[in-house]
Amino acid sequence: MSGLIDLFTIVAVSAGAFFFLAGTVGLLRFPDALTRLHALTKADNLGLGLVVLGLLPHAGGLLAALKLVAVWLLVLLSGATISQLIARVARREAPPS
């Protein structure tokens, strides 16, 4: 049983790490601010979600698990807001043609 849980953790955290990697590559390679934001937020939200999911079985208690989920939700919330704000500034400075 614990072997299966460990396998689940490894798979989920690795998948999360892959999304982080993909998001970072997108941040570096995409041409303008909006597409970079797209790459970053999508990949990070999903990546962090998978990492948190993978860690949940190891949280050692309901309260700790809830804290982990809360971390993910908070990052989702602030990430969404910040990318909105950045996108607005990006559009103001270089309006889409």
Binding site: L74, L77, S78, A80, T81, Q84, L85
Partner: protein, 313 residues
Amino acid sequence: MTMASLFDLALAAAVLALAWWTISTREAFAAVIDFVAYGLLLALVWVRLGAVDVALTEAAIGGGLTGGLLIGAAARLRATEAAAAAERPGPAVRLIAAVGSALIAAGLVAAVLSLPDPAPTLAPNAAANLAATGVGNPVTAVLMAFRATDTVLEKVVLLLALIGVWSLAADRFWGGRPGPHHQADPNGALAFLARLLSPLGIVIGAYVLWVSADEPGGAFQGGTILAAMWLLVMMAGLTDAPPLRRRWLRLLLIAGPAIFLAVGAAGLWLAGAFLAYPVAWAKPLILLIEVPMMLTVAVTLGLLLAGPPRRLE
């Protein structure tokens, strides 16, 4: 070499790389962003050093508030960067500076590696006296009991730094409100975030203080979170910074050190020494000090970021 050592080495390398970028990047704004990332990685270093209380403080201060302060400054001073580049010292000065700094760093490395083994430590001493303070977190015990003197003085340092910042105001704005008035869209994303996050942040701040008796946390870390929430609400335009002449504001700004000193003085009668607590009452008294201290820290930090008064209404 173990996995842990490999991780530590990679972490140290990343910290040093970010530190070097912070110094060598051409643009000040980029350097500040590097510094924020550096602060967050440093928090990880503190976890690896077994100092979770410090890690919380570093993340809140080094990555958070200092970053916010410096980003604002970099944005305002952008116009001066070309002139600054012209003042760059010549290669000879830079070379000597590099050699000198490297020598001093080498001396430090030698000193650190020569520290005695086993290391001298006060941990057993602190553990033996922990019960008398009523708290379980040794760092809180040091800050609030064993070395309470430093903590009181540090709060006075914060207050004087704030007065120093205020003293830079133009005379006509004295007593007025700090910073610009943020006119934000009440239905915009930032206002949404502020409405949703600030109640949550206040709960988290109070939680960080509450658990500090036995787990990592503390009045300062909690106060930093509260300050961040206050700044967010102000930036979202949901509330304005208060005029600095307000009596309640000034009372809040001194509440922490005042109550700390009052309890300290009471210790003269109750426990036979200034800043001493009677054992039975130690924990409630420490909490009595920490709650106003958190509020004072929150308001002081928020106002330090807001800057000197610059408008009357």
